[in-house]
Amino acid sequence: MAVKGEYNPGLYRWSVLLAFCTLLLVVAGGLVTSRDAGLSVPDWPLSYGKLMPPMEGGILYEHGHRMVATTVGLLTIVSMIWLFRADSRKWLRWLGVVALLAVIVQGVLGGLTVLLLLPWWISTSHACLAQLFFSTTVAIALFTSEWWLRGPAVLDEDPRYPIRGLSLAAPVCVLVQLALGAAARHKAIGTIYHIAWAPVVTAVILWISLRILLHYAHNRELRIASLALLGIVFCQVFLGIGAYMSRIAYADAVQPMPAMVALTVLHVAVGALTMAASVALAILVRRNLTSPVRDFAAPRVAAIT
């Protein structure tokens, strides 16, 4: 068994594969909603009473989503077992268990939303849990990376520019935005709420990222994570505008319109990346910066390395 500080390349690559497949799963789920294919397979867990129905029309998207989901489920089971066998960090093993529970709940939510004809609160929960699950898989990949296991370059937080607490605001604001977007997509609320919250979440991310780049840029990990988050948010804002404009432009067209589907699904996928990047940044901030006020913070930080 590997001990703390030992890098396991196989486990790391598996975790990256899991995160990548989960992003594909988010894309597949986004395609199902955008192509209005959610009810093209009325039964669950089988599809048209079979393991493999004819992949035509909307069935291709709905059953394809189920197939990718099954793959991610299997990858998550292996990931949890691997973590238990090859990593000595208890909290990371439990994160593997949390990921497995999340993917099981996610599967059940997916089935329920089909059987209950897409009630908005189940569909929205399904969409939000997908984003949280993706962030969990990215976090597992981060924790199993050689980069993480080399240990942090710890800095003291400058009390004039506090960032440890502030960094948690980004994932919370992004999650709210994702929930508003999902609720709008499932017709529970108007798109206006998602649009109205966008400047808030963008401002919070700008504030956090710029504070890091202006005051903590000498820390390489924080610099890279902030720039990555800024880049992703930059793309996301334009994708959001594009998705909304395509919705207006094709309002009277026979749906689904390929351009609208592409922009919306990309917006969903980059939304997932935004969430994962903001979670990663918060983790890195809390790992790399110690609070000068609380000297006992250091052992707590060490505990998650």
Binding site: S40, G57, I59, D252, V254
Partner: protein, 255 residues
């Protein structure tokens, strides 16, 4: 554990939802059963007729892209267009559901013995708008060589979504509460959309290729007539029908 209110809510919510889906029409159906059976005296019955006129330039309907499913595409010699707004050559509007919304005495109308038919042919619903009497059977056909799902997006009646295999046995459904009107969709082929209007009585019509309608065998009285179009919405008018008389009412929609 059950003292915990949020937990209770969490567990109760799905049950309430299911109850709402399954039982919402029950009291209405029972109340309907207590009503006297409707009777129309043929000697005094009359007719209400009219046209639905479209003013302005008819919007061009987009072509439906069926290329994602070649088996649908192959069944059409020319590209199919959306049927959201179909303006006839004489300037009238097709696919408008016309019915007596109010004015009939409270009564229970016996549904026709013959089922109303909804066909899936060439990945298009036929007819596009279908009127049906509450309690009447709806017969659903799949004349296509491919799978469809039929999703009745009812609000008042319990919604349902079922698959129908190629040329499978016909499905029979029934709607027990009046509901004018709701879409029926297929998620396998997202362009497929039709509308069903469930009327409590048989006095309704759907405008065709001349935009005209006639409601026959209507007892004398003063009625609110409603026209319902999937895009342009609802319009109302009032008529008074004398014994054995006939009356006309026109509706006008515009872009």
């Amino acid at each position: 554990m059950w003292e915990n209110k949020p937990l209770k809510t969490l567990f109760a919510a799905p049950l309430l939802f299911l109850a709402a889906c399954g039982g919402v029409t029950q009291p209405k159906t029972e109340a309907m059963a207590r009503l006297p059976v409707a009777h129309v005296d043929p000697a005094t019955a009359g007719s209400i007729a009219g046209r639905v006129v479209f003013q302005g330039e008819a919007p061009a309907m987009p072509e439906i892209d069926m290329s994602s499913n070649p088996q649908c595409e192959r069944q059409h010699h020319t590209p199919q267009k959306a049927e959201t707004v179909v303006v006839n050559k004489n300037g009238t509007l097709r696919n408008v559901f016309i019915w007596i919304k109010a004015g009939l005495p409270p009564a229970r109308w016996t549904p026709p013995a013959q089922a109303a038919m909804l066909d899936q042919k060439g990945c298009v619903y036929e007819p596009h708008v279908l009127g049906i009497v509450q309690g009447q059977q709806l017969e659903i056909l799949n004349d296509d060589p491919i799978n469809h799902n039929v999703h009745a997006e009812c609000q008042t009646n319990p919604p349902w979504n079922e698959s129908q295999a190629p040329r499978a046995e016909h499905k029979f459904k029934q709607f027990d509460a009046p509901e004018v009107m709701f879409p029926v969709t297929c998620s396998v082929h997202p362009w497929m959309r039709s509308y069903i209007a469930v009327s409590p009585h048989p006095f309704f019509a759907v405008t065709g290729d001349n935009g005209a309608f006639t409601l026959n065998g209507v007892p004398p009285g003063t009625y609110t007539i409603e026209a319902v179009h999937e895009k342009y919405g609802r319009k109302e008018g009032s008529v008074t029908l004398a014994p054995n008389g006939s009356v006309t009412i026109d509706f006008t929609y515009g872009s």
